[in-house]
Symmetry: C2
Subunit: 643 residues, 2 copies
Amino acid sequence: MAKHKLIFQPVGAKIEVEGGANILEAAAESGIYINSLCGGEGVCGKCKVQITRGEAKPTSQSIRFLSREEINSSFVLACQTEVRSDLEVWVPPEARLEEEQILTTESMVCYQSPQDLEIKDTLDIPSLLYMPVTQKIYLSLPKPSITDNLADLDRVFREVRKKIQAPTLEISLGSLRSVASMLRENEWEVTATLYPIDDHCVEILSLEPGDTCAENYGIACDIGTTTIVAQLVDLRSGAILGVEASHNQQARYGEDVISRMIYACSRGGLSPIHQAVVETVNTLIDTLEEKHGVEAGNVTALTAAGNTTMTHLFLGLEPCTIRLEPYIPTANFLPSASAAELDLHVHPNGRVTCVPGVSSYVGGDITAGVLASGISNSAQVSALIDIGTNGEIVIGNNEWLVCCSASAGPAFEGSGTKCGMRATRGAIQKVVIDSEKVHYETIGGAKARGICGSGLIDTIAELYRNRIIDSSGKFPRASAHPRVREYEDDMEFVLASGDETETGKSVVITESDISNLIKSKGAILAAMRLLLNNVGMSFEDLERIFVAGGFGNYLEVEKAIFIGLLPDVAPERVKFIGNSSLTGARMALLSRHALARAKTLAKQMTYIELSVDPKFYDEFVAALFLPHTDMDLYPSVKRVMGG
Amino acid sequence: MAKHKLIFQPVGAKIEVEGGANILEAAAESGIYINSLCGGEGVCGKCKVQITRGEAKPTSQSIRFLSREEINSSFVLACQTEVRSDLEVWVPPEARLEEEQILTTESMVCYQSPQDLEIKDTLDIPSLLYMPVTQKIYLSLPKPSITDNLADLDRVFREVRKKIQAPTLEISLGSLRSVASMLRENEWEVTATLYPIDDHCVEILSLEPGDTCAENYGIACDIGTTTIVAQLVDLRSGAILGVEASHNQQARYGEDVISRMIYACSRGGLSPIHQAVVETVNTLIDTLEEKHGVEAGNVTALTAAGNTTMTHLFLGLEPCTIRLEPYIPTANFLPSASAAELDLHVHPNGRVTCVPGVSSYVGGDITAGVLASGISNSAQVSALIDIGTNGEIVIGNNEWLVCCSASAGPAFEGSGTKCGMRATRGAIQKVVIDSEKVHYETIGGAKARGICGSGLIDTIAELYRNRIIDSSGKFPRASAHPRVREYEDDMEFVLASGDETETGKSVVITESDISNLIKSKGAILAAMRLLLNNVGMSFEDLERIFVAGGFGNYLEVEKAIFIGLLPDVAPERVKFIGNSSLTGARMALLSRHALARAKTLAKQMTYIELSVDPKFYDEFVAALFLPHTDMDLYPSVKRVMGG
């Protein structure tokens, strides 16, 4: 395809693009950020630019945003106009975004994960006003002389003030110590990394030689009890460069949150378990940096979301009081820290921020999820269910939010089940049982290695539908199914025999596994019913249900309803949003406004402590069946299975 | 004298005082701070209190501030009312100062040094609104419960907000780490040390067990090239508990500023010379803490003033560029740091603040001097001359300030002269030569050990007056004076023979010493003339001359004029204000307003670089005589010595 040259005035930025690219994207590529509230959908009319040389015609869709005079003067909407020839484009001031105000949307992000794409239309676009935690600016300083004898720091401040608005500029003593030689050894040409503390005060985190503005990266991190996921993000464009996940190395000190707290508060102390999570995060950072050729020194911000215990352990805060009544964390709103304080493998002065939480059992991961799901942006009453280790639930809309934790356990994360695994290559993620035959799909089409969350849900649903297990999740004493067998005092169902698997061992689901999974789903369903009850509502009132969690990508809503993990609502009301903790963390990394929003949300959410509610146990017991003791709550299942 | 009991209502604070004490002082002693803008002079009328039991009559001076009704209701001005019987005093809310607003004046400070007392009437009282760098408050927190389940940090913040106004509260991750156990191990009764960063934001530096509000101390420090002086200050009352001084241990790396810079920037590197000043300060801190029974952990703030090089070396900043044209420091406005960053022997989270400077050769010590001298509070044109190592001069009033550095050298600090010493015990501080007899006084009346600044000035003046030296400072080739002798290729005058001294060695002044001192005084006088010249003024225009420096306490103005160190003005215009760098540092320690004032002053002062002024050398050479080449500038000396 032909290449065309574009020049953007009044700045004079030049770029060469392939024919067919739109002007909005071309401008962004050249470093000119044009206002586009709608993210390039052609529906906000903010990206009006004038074609001053070359030809481009407005599309019919854009005409409604342009006056006759503007059309005659060759104005177009940048996002709706394809480049078909060399162009000179004049960007009027009102259409131009200053670097700090750049708007990005999830849809502009070049990431491939279905979970991430899934989520895009629920993102709160205006709140994502692009202003990352840190920003780099290039400074070419005039050399000092007897007549211009400002101190080095004042000289730097003077130059920074020409580029950004900041009533107060700050620098730490540690960073100041290298300023004199940094300036002189680099001919007074340096790049400053800025950290806007608030609207008034900007801290200079570091100076480095030359112009490194093109290299400013951040890490968004979901610190799960079972799994830790990190994304490498280009802070300039908002693009996700890569993602890595790993088991939380803390698992060696205990599989669940409670056993890790006990370890930290008695036997082993906080230090090893704090180190373990930091090491896990560092391993992910190292891999991301290596794979994408990014130097640690160019990663200047890390934003993490995790449950309250994980956040405490990550920051080296004692988690002990979280575990015991009245369940008090040290802090829900965590101070930001330098990377050096936590020994993270990024720039030592890089800023580490944690998304704030609500209480000991509704942490920053849930606040991040609310941010990402956008349930607080709409008048519709929605639920967010995070089926991670704890099973947290948030219900509400743009006026109110209530939340609770179900203590569901990590069964759907693949933990605590015999062949459970994370949703990675080789995990069985989709299962259909047709009488004696089992059809399954693995992630990546690889040989089976185990079962991930969606595979477990499918399996239980299929076993129940085929009546291979009963509504209490048990295999009948004398099961004649050829795939059901007894093994080490437990009954199990063989999904894949050893000759089909990578390990040579069968992939199975045991009766104990099923019992664990039923307990998990029961806790979640019971918690949701109780939370709704607290606000005088029932399942029917939920207009949308967002399900977050680390299962595979093909989880079928019908099957989750079939086993009673979700209420029996119309399947189109349910949306899987994948790892919304990670998405929310990335939003807070890319936008100070999103972080501010997260703080407001965390303050707004009313936490309800289920453990002191006597009705919880009754609800829980009633939910320990497939799909529920009260089949009238599940008419769709009743139709299939009978009452 | 009889003792009387006072009780202050509505607080109920009790105190027993001697008859004759005034109510304002008695209140302060009992911990009740009454508003008194004028510092107890009876001229502001702010300290109205009501005598509710006992008898006290208003003075005639105070009647003008009291209405008839108030007089009938036994209102008096606290500062104008002596205690003559037991009293109950009601302090109305408008007369009561909250702890943050307490006004202190140098005159209320219980310090004994004549220099310190000397300075009191020049202090800018309203600017000294008492608000120390750090403040302690006691928190008795309600224990958490299921219904009051705020996180620990929010619980602390809630309680702090009941006591102080602070839109934003902050804590560092490091301090947060111990909060949970601190609260629980101390039954939720703790003391918070607060550091108000600005009007909006207060940082909690630390929490400690129980109520330690009574123990909050600060260190004010003058970091001189030759001598370092530190004061231990009670931050609650403003009282100076003690003062210690010591040679700057950096001297081992070079006697003067330049040689230390050369050392730091080439041979030895910054580290040893930075360590040396920190060690010197630590030795002083250790001594002060030990002598006064103060624990390091209760010292929560340190404020230092020093010249720009000393400040850089203290903070570990490279001083190299200060020495070379165009003489640029890393910073004049220094970031505050934690004591731990500098390894100072106070609370590790204690705040270390440096008084800001103006340029490479007019540092924070001079800003502190301007603050302490108050020259910027009056319309009168005044000069501040700091005869320390550099010999800095500031001229101006409340509208303008110009300053320069004379690079005079440390001769008047006792350094670089054979028997020179600091103004401590055993230093000859006063000398009268009566033909062949020498009368001298030593500090503390001890056996002579050496000569301090005032002793050196006296000696030269007396030698010249007695024509033992000529106007160029030389002993005549064939001097017949019995106390003049030749020793090691130099001529010297014996002030005290070995049998009178502590060391058994003679205390002498040599021809080289005199030559050094004349160079120092010549540089200062030349700089002052040039600075005045720059603003179109001459000596006669100076309405007040404040002389700061570390000489003895009995420096005679007439003798300083006689040798040509000071211009020939009426002696009553000259005031010795001692170590004004230390006084200014203490002001900045005790009052955030004073620190803010110092910042404004540092910005206001116009620095004039003498080294590039071709007239300076001529002026300097002309001043290398006793008192000056041009005797018409010194009519008072001409009258004595002839023209």
